[in-house]
Amino acid sequence: MHNVVIVGAGPAGLSAAIAAAAAGAPVLLIDSNPRMGGQYWRMAADSLENQIDQHYDLETGLLLINAVKARKEIEVWSNAQIWSATHKDGVNTLRIIHQDNEKIVNTKNLIICTGAYDRTLPFPGWDTPGVMTPGAVQSLLKGHAVLAGKRIVVAGSGPFLLPVATGVLKAGGEIVELIEANKPIRWLKSFAAMLENLHKINEGYYYLKTISTGKVRPRFGYAVVRAYKADNDELDSVDIAKIDRNFNIRKIKNIKCDVAAIGWGFTADTSLAGSLGCKQIVAEDDGVVIWADDKQQTSVTGIFVAGEITGIGGSELSMAEGVIAGISAAKFVGCKVEIKKAHIKRRAKKQRFATALIRAYPIKSGWKSWLTGESIICRCEEVDLNDLKHAITELGATDSRTAKLFTRCGMGLCQGRICGRSVVDLVADNLEISPTDIDRIAAVNRPIITPIPLGVLAAGE
């Protein structure tokens, strides 16, 4: 029997590994982090005793991680980053940087669970040191037990702001402001999805309770719209604006802080699956995700996906999908196993909650009005909005690809992970058209998934 190969050891990948192994398939689990757990269960140490108190549901995570470790039919490669992958004649070739060397895995079946990363929006001053993503603040805390600053503003939109603020408080930091752009009333539209996922409401309540023991009171309908540098080039303060339903600015006040953690939900990391030719689609939140059928199989036979990469939905949906993907892949390699009705039902329930989430935290087009001509859009290449407009009005760019070639927007170190999505929106906005799915998908196309030293590349065969 062939190995089931899984990439990503977050909630989705761990669940898939256990399900495939339980069905009798040997598993190879590949992950780029030093420890299993993915984003949600990122840890600074291996055992529970040594953990700082930063997690809501680490018990489930440790349960899965220990189950993976206990099963000898699951082989785990940590610190293993896939830098490139290609698909030919039914075989997927994964090229992996592992301990400074390159390893090659050829496999006909694959489960991709590469998760997501923070979505950012540009605004004047967002390139100031001290402006970061909530994910980065949390990774420092969870992964290194380091607090990013003393006086922290947490802002943006989405439920993820709550655990980040809670984590900061628990680690002894001060939350100066916790602000959410959308109003909670939006949740009422999804009452049924909330009722059937009451424990999630409980989780939210737990965060809010912790937060209220600090002095901070969350504000809704506000956003950070400008950041200011101090003389030492570090963050001095931010402008916080009351915004309307479309995110247009109403009233502004200035707040001193040394860190502003600002995030607007997540963007799925589709680069690996995209390289292998899996069909990409544009989701309700305009993010690009990988299409999958009800068995979690992609448009490429033998490649399955689970977790945030199929659409942003949180750890529970990731686990529900992971189990189904694990069973499907095990079946694909010849195991006698079937997806159960209960699995399908669980996934559907979590999916309804995920949809409610997306609808409760929309990103409205008014964010573009926060920008000035001099606002940096691409931080790596220092391209500002005027440059982008020049590419359109003077040089004749009529799509984001051409605008990118003219300005180098999105061609720097992060390869457009940070600005790519916003650039597509801004270019379309300036042309007074709507972005096409082709534009959005082209913006996430990255055949070199992660940079690789030329020396390592040259040494490979």
Binding site: T86, S275, L405, F406, G455, A458
Partner: protein, 385 residues
């Protein structure tokens, strides 16, 4: 635009330069492209403007004029495309390679190319990170570079300012003619009338010729380029191995590569490019990336620690004899070709525009255009195929 004097199909660098030269000569020009400016091979190439890689002959004459024409054009339209006279260095490490390179440089010199011979010390002085085992090289101060997409866009902007019209997003599907004389073209959306049509569609030029019931053997030759993450300035010229010249001239179908290494204004290092004939197959081929990386490191060992950030590829338009096609169609009068520049289309574009314009307007051309004439492929033995 009603009744343009000439229609240019293709807004790559060659179409843009042709349109500008025609406009400057007083013609009303309409440019049509199915995509935005530079959406073809021009948007997938490097910006080398080389005289160093050409053997004496018609192409070198074209290249030398074109190199100077780039700098005149830069002044004429006000720049904005990162033109830089950076200089190229060709090196060799084998005995045979060195003697070939010496012979080539001597011939080039007698054709008027500026060349400076360098020994190991001379090389180390101007390229301190060059591998110490390189003992011979030739510096070509006239080799230059530009940012090709910006160049095409700035040139098209000048064309529009000077009265030309650019229609984008229309796919040409037919070249209309009457008694073997061009009358205009049809796109998927409109028809346009003009007695002169210039086919500047690069790798797709054969399709346009076919639409006019003529024939042009232009085919794709794939190339990959590596782009590194920004590094402090390590490399000051374009540096390449003399094997490159042999590859450029080669007719082999299988993979050839000889890394041309250069630093750019943004700090990234470009390593290009491979050459192979695989049709329009765009799949990432990691074996090629590895080969380019090996060759680049053998020239500059320090690159071993620099990170590959991205790779891209394009399809050079080539003719069987590796010369561009510039001139009037032998079968359809009024149909002009400016295509098939292979790996030198950026460098050769301005002189191509001048050459085609002087032929169309009946001015005396700066060189004999006959070696580039499409007639060489349009005798009975070809058309019968």
């Amino acid at each position: 635009m009603k009744n343009p004097d000439a229609i240019v199909i293709g807004a790559g660098v060659v179409g843009a330069c042709s349109a500008l030269a025609l406009t400057n000569a007083g013609l009303k020009v309409l440019v049509i492209d199915r995509g935005p400016v530079a959406s073809g091979t021009t948007g997938a190439g490097e910006g080398n403007i080389l005289v160093s890689d050409k053997e004496p002959g018609a192409e070198l004459t074209l290249a030398m004029r074109s190199r100077d024409a780039w700098f005149e054009l830069d002044t004429d339209i006000g720049g904005g495309f990162e033109l830089e006279a950076k200089g190229g260095i060709v090196v060799s490490r084998s005995e045979k390679g060195i003697s070939n390179l010496k012979r080539l440089a001597t011939l080039q010199k007698s054709s008027g190319v500026e060349t400076i011979e360098l020994d190991r010390n001379g090389l180390q002085k101007i390229e301190p990170y060059l591998s110490a085992d390189v003992e011979y090289g030739v510096l070509y101060p006239k080799d230059a570079q530009c940012q090709p997409m910006l160049a095409a866009a700035q040139i098209m902007r000048a064309v529009k300012k000077r009265g030309g019209v650019f229609v984008q997003g229309e796919n040409v599907i037919k070249v209309n003619s009457n008694h073997n004389s061009v009358t205009g073209i049809s796109t998927d959306k409109n028809s346009y009338i003009s007695p002169i049509v210039i086919n500047a569609t690069g790798t797709w030029a054969g399709e346009i010729a076919k639409m006019a019931n003529s024939y042009l053997p232009i085919m794709p030759r794939r190339g990959f380029i590596l782009v590194t993450s920004p590094a402090p300035k390590l490399i000051h010229h374009k540096v390449y191995d003399a094997d490159y010249v042999a590859n450029v001239a080669s007719g082999q179908a299988d993979l050839q590569s000889s890394a041309v290494v250069e630093g750019t204004a943004s700090g990234t290092i470009l390593i290009g490019a491979s050459r192979e004939r695989v049709g329009f197959n765009g799949e990432l081929d990691v074996a090629i990336l590895r080969q380019l990386a090996r060759q680049a490191i053998s020239l500059f060992p320090i690159l071993s620690n620099v990170q590959l950030l991205r790779a891209y590829r394009g399809f050079r338009p080539y003719a069987p004899d590796h010369l561009p096609v510039i001139g009037e169609d032998a079968l359809i009068s009024g149909l002009w070709h400016a295509a098939g520049h292979e790996g030198a289309g950026i460098g050769l574009a301005p002189a191509t525009g001048e050459l085609i314009t002087s032929q169309i307007t009946g001015q005396s051309p700066f060189m004999d255009p006959s070696p580039f004439s499409p007639k060489r492929f349009q005798g009975s033995e070809y058309v019968a195929v």
